[in-house]
Point group: C2
Amino acid sequence: MWQEIEQQPEALRATIDWLLPRRDEVARLAADTRQVLLIARGTSDNAAVYGSYLIQAHAGRLASLASPSIATTYKASIDLDGVLAVALSQSGRTAEIVETLEWAKANGARTLAITNGGADSPLAVAADVAFVTQAGIERAVPATKTFTTELAALAVLALALGAPLDPGELRAAPEAISALLAAPLDLTPIVDELAKVPGVVVSGRGMAYSAALELALKLKEACYLHAMGLSYADLLHGPIAVVDADTPAIVMAADSGPTLAGTVDLARRVTGAGARAYGIGGGPALAAACSRALAAPALPEWLAPIGLIVPGQLLTEALARQLGINPDSPRGLSKVTQTD
Amino acid sequence: MWQEIEQQPEALRATIDWLLPRRDEVARLAADTRQVLLIARGTSDNAAVYGSYLIQAHAGRLASLASPSIATTYKASIDLDGVLAVALSQSGRTAEIVETLEWAKANGARTLAITNGGADSPLAVAADVAFVTQAGIERAVPATKTFTTELAALAVLALALGAPLDPGELRAAPEAISALLAAPLDLTPIVDELAKVPGVVVSGRGMAYSAALELALKLKEACYLHAMGLSYADLLHGPIAVVDADTPAIVMAADSGPTLAGTVDLARRVTGAGARAYGIGGGPALAAACSRALAAPALPEWLAPIGLIVPGQLLTEALARQLGINPDSPRGLSKVTQTD
């Protein structure tokens, strides 16, 4: 897992170089569509959450997550004319995702695959256009570089859909992650504290929400921690009751942007309730509001999740080892999941 | 909380009697729309999940959940022509939800409010049409009857959108819940076991997923339990690693329908991994696959969540008392939540 975390700048560079020139192809595919339907599970579902925020906030289109069982179990017939269906799968081989993409196409959607499984994977073959990420082979069961390259592919998709954002900022993202990885973070104090708690809440808002969901999933998968990924608002609407002296919160935010101030307030509420708050990203403002904090790669808000997850991955890897778990192959998981 | 659980048959009867005759009004409102966008937070968000499955599985329309921060924080401009926006709020006074509904209207959507806050609540006033649920005043902080009456309102919405389902089955739902409440469940063995664990996973698929999310939220709010609501597929895609001897799963399913077989398999996987599985609903098949089980009211699959949550509410109430928590006013919560 650690090696694959380190490979991310290179994987991202290759993916961005490969996909950015293919924006026109997706723009043509999407020309007569008005909205985006994202189809994914697990880690790819967390990437899809990023896609939905990015496309809605910056590309002026409704974007939402599909419920695959509507296709595979209920076998519903729904008019998807005008819909661009985007299916994400690391392997490109998860039968449920392939079946849902085929369902979308049969119901009138245009279809795009985002996969690291190659142009000959079933998902890529089934789609009108395939964005094949260039992460190389991923051996550790908890996904790392296949997640961040999916995020990069979604950033390219947003640009292809007309988001008025700077592709140069995307091109610069791998270097920002390299810089973070070159100056190792001091994870020990947080790892020592997390090793003693039964659970943790991971929260973020807007773009950062996807990184919070993904970090919660990593902590569940690789550390068997009861980690709940909650949006800022959903944490306030009830479950803040679970944050206490035994249950810290990890709070993630971009270094700038419209959600930072609210996230800083949330961290203050957590510490005010007597719980520990660990910040990831959010610059000096979030660090000051938290018990402990980790810096994230310096990225603009629209790309922040690509960087925010990296300190989270390092934290997961270190915590798993501290707990005596091999992070490369935790229990109960296989690399290609078949739901049915 | 217990009194309000008991009031649900009456609250449902009043709500169904009030709303079923207003189907035509919503059918006219929705006449030139092609999809549904649900706007909600917290408990109402869990109701919205039911609405999205019900409308997609049976009313032939795409239905998805909005991200309110796209409206309130990112202030994005999105073309919502052809969209029926449905905002749900128990109080009708949560500013974020009212603001998101107003944003949807300004962006071209038709709008429906579902609220227990009355016809003069800000949400009802802001919407083109208001479905006012008839739950009466709810005093306990954890929502019970305002949740099930929201589900009933969504069932009426699905009928108004042309779902070929039997309104008589909806009219019969209160009686099925009365029958369950009249023969109290033996909760003690499960309560005794749950009182000793740090966390629990709550899972369900399709229609039942909304009930699983809502039970997880109740257990977090009122019992401070690390309860994770996960769809069947998402549980298999990774977090099944958190299920172990200390972390049981509560598995919920309708007594019939296309998701039952998969849910029974999931319960077998959980017990096969050495963890405890508690079934709610799912008939004899699910009960046989679980360590312990609670029956749910006898309802057809499309209405199952209205009944499935009731044993869950009773379990939450009993567990809170066993843990020394007053379920009517747990820490950290107020009845009207303002996110901003």
